[in-house]
Each structure stands twice: as structure tokens, then as C-alpha cells.
Subunit: 138 residues, 2 copies
DNA sequence: CGGTATCCAGCCCGATACTG
DNA sequence: CAGTATCGGGCTGGATACCG
């Protein structure tokens, strides 16, 4: 067996299925359209609801609330309510949330290194789609 | 400034926005519902269309084709057609695709370490939702 | 064998308006 | 201030049938 193109050789104790499920768990956490934005924002420090709303950009309040609730539900951010008048609500990363930022960095490192290849591949396929499938040239 | 909760201190040369965009590029590649499954499968070796179809599970042919085309378009898998009768089509990882598997491993490592915390948080929030908001107890 | 074509359901997200 | 309520649109993914 001279073929080393087998991912399982790196972790013979884990099945593909377990890896897929694990990866899926992670993706569920950050799959929301704005989850990553919120995570990066809170990684720069605690923010109030209105601060997140303003700093993220053109997110709607409904979607922002959904995003925050989902992240809170997954335990990566925490929500602190100050019962003043008017109320103040602060969001911040939990330790679990901080552990995710490391992964986000790793993902960024990958795109820093390979992102251009992805863009290039996409452009190539676009051009190929525009070219008539080789016939009218004769 | 004794506050070290600043993610940018790790990479002062990169803005949050660039990181968010980079992360988004990666997520676009693997965000498809079945992308990770296909990637892991092909990481175990080249597969024919029907093999992928069977081994992935309950994916529809349309969705499988969509997934494969998207991954091909992003340059992470390659499609090789053998013009026999009937035709044979083989899919395999490109070098770019192989570079992604490293990241998938990193993601798996994270869930192996923290996945249980996510599940626990979710369960806790479920229970909290079932509890009446503290009023009828008196 | 390896796909398309067509139709359709579900969900995520947004815009707007209203509230404790 | 920090949300909720309601309505609606777009895109993803599935079921089924057909094709080179």
C-alpha cells in the first residue's frame, strides 16, 4: 500500500462519520450569515446590543437578535442584562467562544494562503462557461 | 491597557474586515450541506459519481451534482471523464482540496475538545425555555 | 452511467412597524 | 434601549421523471 492519500491514516481511531458530525457541529455554530462578524466583533471586546447593531453594518434587528440568540444558545457568547432604565444589554465571548477564535484564525490563515487559488478557479470556470462549447469556430 | 481580550493583537497587520472576508470565502466553499461529506469521502481516495452517490447516503442526484460542481468550480476537486460506453466519471481532490483537509482536521479537533460543551449549552437553554419564567411558583 | 428538467417545500434573512 | 410581530422574497435542497 504505497498510496498515502488516506486521511484516516492520520487518525486511525476516528471514523469519517465522527469527523463529519464534528465538523457539522462547528459549522452549525458559525453557519449563520452574520455569526462570524459578531464573533470577530466581540473578540475585540464586550459590546452592547446597539453597538453590535451599528458596527456590524446592514444587519436587521431581527436577524441580529436571531444571530445573538443562536450564539448564546450554543454557549459561545454570554448575555448580561443590566436592569437600568433604559435597560442595557451587553454581549461578550465565553471561554468556549474564545476557543473558537483560534479556529477562526486558522481558517483565516488558510484563505490568506489559498484564497487566491479559489478566486482563480472560480474565474476560470466563469470564462469556460462563456465560451461556446467548441463548434462554431471552424 | 491590561486588557488582552483583543484578537487583533495577534495579527496587527490584518483588519477584522479582511479576516471576516477570508473566513467567508472558506465557508462558501464548505457551506453546502454535503460538501464536507464529499470532501472526507474523496480524502479516502478517488471515487466515481455513483460511488459518491451511494456512499454519501441519502443525497439526491441533483444535489450531489450541485455539490460536486460547486467544489469543482472552487478548485478543490477535479472531474475526470472517461469517454467509454457507458461513460465513467471520476472525482478526486486537487492539491487545493488536500490543503482543506488539514483545516477540516483542525475543526474536528476543536469539536472533539469542545463539542460536548456546545451540546451541553444547547440542552441547558432547552430546559430554561421549558421552565415558566418564574411567577407561578409562589 | 451520469447526469438534466421541472416543480415544489422549507428556511433563512430582510423591511417595516410596534412595545416594555 | 433592546427588542418582538408580521409579512414577504430568494435561495437551497428534495422528489420525480427523463436524456445522451
Amino acid at each position: 500500500m504505497d498510496n498515502v492519500t488516506d486521511i484516516s491514516s492520520a487518525r486511525p481511531d476516528v471514523t469519517d462519520l465522527q469527523m463529519i458530525e464534528g465538523t457539522r457541529t462547528f459549522l452549525e455554530v458559525i453557519a449563520g450569515k452574520w455569526s462570524v462578524d459578531v464573533l470577530y466583533l466581540l473578540a475585540n471586546g464586550t459590546r452592547r446590543y446597539s453597538e453590535v447593531f451599528y458596527e456590524v453594518g446592514e444587519i436587521s434587528k431581527k436577524t441580529l437578535t436571531q444571530t445573538l440568540r443562536a450564539l448564546e444558545r450554543d454557549g459561545v457568547i454570554s448575555r448580561q442584562v443590566y436592569p437600568e432604565v433604559p435597560v442595557k444589554v451587553e454581549y461578550s465571548l465565553t471561554p468556549l467562544g474564545w476557543s473558537i477564535t483560534g479556529l477562526l484564525m486558522a481558517i483565516y490563515e488558510w484563505t490568506a494562503e489559498h484564497g487566491a487559488e479559489v478566486e482563480a478557479a472560480r474565474t476560470l470556470h466563469e470564462e469556460a462557461a462563456e465560451r461556446p462549447p467548441l463548434a462554431a469556430a471552424a
